[in-house]
Amino acid sequence: MKKIEAVIQPFKLDEVKAALIAIGVSGMTIAEVRGHGRQKGHTEVYRGTEYAVDLIPKVKLELFVPDARLEEIVLAISSAAHTGKIGDGKIFVFPVDDAVRIRNGERGDIAL
């Protein structure tokens, strides 16, 4: 079992979601987040005073998937979120020990 955390451009969310649903991914959690990578944002001017916009809005997706489907899902996300420009985001993969479905106590892959 693996956890996928993907930080993507907010405007790519719909395409990524569609791509995941198309390959039969059943669930995900998303959050609006702010952050920066290598690019470090940019500056704006408010009423004549410059301020840094170094924490740029992004969307973070969290998915928990069986090991067997990992590559396919990562590929789907990265190709749907891709523009080729700076700021496309990143995908992280973590090992997961277990999962519990709270409703009926099911454990492991079946609980995903």
């Binding site: 001017v45 408010y46 009423r47 004549g48 005073t49 410059e50 301020y51």
Partner: protein, 571 residues
């Protein structure tokens, strides 16, 4: 014996006669004493029901010529012959056509009714500006202080209103009938004595406290409604500069001070027939100090009081970095900012045209168009200037630019042409941009909403603009100057430097600058003392957290998920 009796009788008669004489004197004395208050009450009676207000004496034509021709009394006066002839003619016609004079009673009443309706309704528009300002200032601050801003705007209305009702209105207009009787509203004859000063040198009005006695009158109440919402405008202007750090109690003190003293006293000098309005006749300065709808009386008073308070409070935490450079605290809701600005523009259609105090003064159309022209010119200037200076037009500065144009046209709106209105708007747009940068970078007086630049600097500019751009087409006989002719021309009104009256310009410069000194000086002294007794600024912890919860117990946006769950957790 007989002679003795006769003598006694004679003595008694004499005694009786002298007693009678004494009694007669006493009775006369008592009568005189009783009559004396009647002498005082020769002053017009208040008319709470409004049924005696408006008759043939208030029936006038477009130029203000009365229907009723009064009898000339001074036989030595120049033109006595003609006045006498006019009077005789009127008497003859009135005798011939009694129905016409009866009809004139209705005409005079309807004229006042029209003006009452106009003045009240424009007053309601000005009242609505309160909502616009609440939205504008709330949108311009950080989210954590949104509730605080709403409460300040709300409490300003409530407390300043009460202060103005109790004493402020009487201080400002208690002597309005003497030099500045609003004839469009029937002249408000019951407000006719100064508390301080007299004649052309009045300093403080003295009738109409708590709207009782001479204040319990239908005409007085029209004026009260219209003027109290003007005072409220000065009251909420200060919010824009002192927000995000002032304690609630200190703000209430500021509002009571504004409604009872600071605003009404200067207002008396300019609008209540006080000394500043009379410097035309007393010092030969044009038509006296002229501020049509309050660039200074309302806006500069608010703006410079705000400046003094902001100076005492100091900048918000973190506004200036350790290097002394200003930092930006971006607006949290631009939708509020723009909506609020448009509500203010809409309300200004009451503020300026309403200041004629009557729809029978047909200059209202010119006033309304001039007001809009300056607003759009000011906004266009600020937008384009910012576009050029910083590469992007700032929405909040575009809004400030519109308000700057409005503030600057408020004093001259009735006296200038459309072209001049555009010029005044452009000037105001430049002043507000320069003012915001100047306060941010040079004086370092922290003004979150730009209130000092918009209302203070542009208010001063507006009053001075009267002395430059007034073209003489309106305001003949203003403040009792040049009723027959002015600058050698009959019907010539308030005239500025560009149209040949340099004395008016000097008067405007003097009055506007005095307003700045009065508002800033008084507020600074009073609140330095208040601050020394008890600090008027919130603690550092409160300021960092935002004032909403520490001061008012609830965030403005409790539906935020984290806030909501945190609130449940404590139950």
């Amino acid at each position: 014996m007989n002679t003795e009796k006769q003598a006694e009788r004679a003595h008694r008669r004499l005694h009786r006669q002298s007693l009678f004489k004494n009694c007669a004197w006493l009775a006369a004395g008592i009568l005189l004493l009783l009559w004396m208050p009647c002498l005082a009450q020769q002053a017009p009676k208040p008319d709470p029901a409004g049924i005696a207000t408006g008759d043939r004496t208030t029936a006038v034509d477009g130029a203000g010529n009365a229907f009723v021709v009064s009898e000339p009394t001074d036989k030595t006066a120049p033109g006595y012959e003609k006045s006498k002839k006019d009077f005789d003619e009127y008497q003859a016609q009135a005798a011939k056509e009694p129905l016409a004079t009866k009809l004139a009673d209705s005409v005079g009443h309807i004229r006042l009714a029209t003006n009452f309706a106009w003045t009240l309704n424009t007053g309601y528009l000005v009242l609505f500006m309160q909502a616009g300002f609440a939205l504008l200032t709330c949108g311009l601050v950080r989210k954590k202080n949104a509730g605080h801003l709403m409460m300040l705007n709300f409490a300003a209305y409530v407390f300043a209103f009460l202060a103005y009702y109790a004493v402020g209105f009487a201080f400002q207009f208690g002597a309005v009938a003497i030099n500045a009787a609003p004839t469009n509203l029937g002249g408000i004859p019951t407000l006719n004595s100064f508390l301080l000063g007299s004649g052309s040198w009045g300093f403080l009005g003295g009738k109409g406290f708590f709207l009782t006695g001479p204040g319990y009158d239908s005409g007085v109440n029209v004026l009260m409604l219209f003027q109290v919402v003007f005072m409220e405008t000065a009251g909420y202007i200060i919010v824009g500069a002192i927000c995000e750090r002032i304690t609630f109690w200190a703000f209430l003190v500021a509002e009571l001070f504004m409604g009872a003293l600071l605003y009404p006293i200067f207002g008396c000098w300019v609008w209540g027939g006080g000394w500043l309005s009379q410097i035309g006749s007393t010092m030969n300065l044009g038509h006296g100090y002229v501020d049509f709808a309050g660039s200074t009386v309302v806006h500069a008073i608010g703006g410079f009081a705000a400046m003094a308070l902001a100076l005492i409070l100091g900048p918000r935490l973190g506004k200036y970095g350790p290097d002394g450079k200003p930092r930006a605290f971006p607006a949290h809701n631009l939708v509020f900012v723009v909506t609020g600005t448009f509500i203010l523009l809409f309300g200004w259609m009451g503020f300026n045209p309403g200041s004629t105090l009557g729809a029978t003064d047909l200059r209202i159309s010119v006033v309304a168009v001039n007001t809009n022209l300056a607003a759009v010119a000011g906004s266009a200037t600020a937008m384009l200037l910012w576009y050029r200076l910083f590469g992007k037009p700032d929405i909040t500065m575009a809004c400030n630019g519109m308000l700057a144009g409005l503030v600057a046209i408020t004093a001259p709106c009735a006296f200038v042409s459309a072209t001049s209105s555009i010029v005044i708007g452009v000037l105001a747009g430049m002043v507000v941009c320069a003012g915001v940068l100047f306060n941010d970078r040079v004086t370092k007086i922290d003004d979150p909403c730009g209130a000092i630049s918009v209302h203070g600097f542009c208010g001063w500019l507006g009053a001075v603009s009267v002395g430059i751009f007034a073209d003489g087409t309106y305001g003949a006989g203003w403040n009792g100057v040049g009723a027959a002719s002015y600058l050698g021309q009959a019907g010539k009104g308030v005239t500025g430097l560009l149209y040949g009256d340099s004395r008016q310009f000097l008067g405007q410069l003097f009055g506007a600058t005095l307003c700045v000194v009065w508002a800033f000086g008084m507020t600074f002294v009073v609140f330095k003392i208040v601050n020394a007794i008890k600090p008027i600024r919130v603690s550092e912890e409160v300021e960092r957290e935002g004032l909403d919860v520490p001061q008012f117990g609830l965030p403005a946006y409790p539906e935020d998920a984290v806030h909501a769950s945190a609130m449940h957790a404590t139950q």
